[in-house]
């Protein structure tokens, strides 16, 4: 079965420090992996995706994520957090062997402390 896990409901980090938001997945085929961010009263916004190729992908607002096949993980990272990064982050996966569904994690609330 396909699934996504975001083990941390809440992540707090000081401004200027590096941040990591964790995501692990389970699929039958090859994973197509995505990160989205949701600001209050706004729709989900695409940050970045991994389809194939280089395991390190770079996205919007200085975010990057590393695909690790052996650990079935796709953690979101940023070298230096900003207060404006505070938001709800969702990891999503699409299974190349399982139709058109996207599976989302339960979300991680990131708070960057000034």
């Amino acid at each position: 079965a396909q699934s996504v896990a975001q083990p941390e409901d809440q992540v707090n980090v000081a401004e200027g420090n590096p941040l990591t938001v964790k995501c692990t997945y389970s699929v039958s085929g090859n994973p197509y992996l995505f990160w989205y961010v949701q600001y209050p009263n706004r729709g989900l916004q695409f940050l970045l995706k991994y389809i194939t190729g280089d395991n390190l992908v770079k996205g919007s607002y200085g975010f990057e994520a590393e695909f690790n096949k052996s650990q079935t993980s796709f953690h979101l990272k940023k070298p230096s957090a900003l207060v404006s990064d505070s938001a709800l982050y969702f990891c999503a996966v699409r299974d190349s062997m399982a139709g058109n569904q996207f599976y989302f994690g339960t979300g991680t609330s990131l708070t960057v402390i000034p």
């Binding site: 995505f34 989205y36 729709g43 699409r94 979300g107």
Partner: protein
């Protein structure tokens, strides 16, 4: 350009009533998705359209839920005989082309409350 829009932004209805939720995707986007998001959860897939046809409706929870996209643009999600458990935010997203890995652009959602 204009993003994905959804109307109404809020809908309050009584148990047993019928509701329609509308999604206006980005112009030119052939793929359209409906999701349901409950409090504290991630979006849950309901249905996927490619053009006018429902290519995958495996996420619809039961036959009270139905969606259409007659002209390949605007879509309407229809819920019959609403139940309190249907209360959630209903999200619509669209993406370009037929690729299974194009990013989706989400609307702001419709918050449905069933009393």
């Amino acid at each position: 350009g204009a993003g994905v829009s959804q109307t109404p932004s809020n809908k309050v209805t009584e148990k047993g009533k019928y509701v329609e939720l509308r999604c206006d995707p980005i112009s030119g986007h052939t793929a359209l998705y409906w999701y349901r998001q409950s409090l504290g959860q991630g979006p849950e897939f309901l249905i996927y359209f490619q053009g006018t046809g429902a290519a995958d409706d495996s996420g619809l929870p039961n036959d009270r839920f139905f969606a259409v996209r007659p002209e390949g643009s605007v879509s309407t999600l229809k819920i019959q005989r609403t139940e309190r458990g249907d209360s959630a935010v209903y999200l619509c997203a669209s993406s370009y082309g037929r690729s299974s890995y194009n990013e989706q652009f989400f609307g702001p959602g419709t918050r449905l409350t069933v009393l």
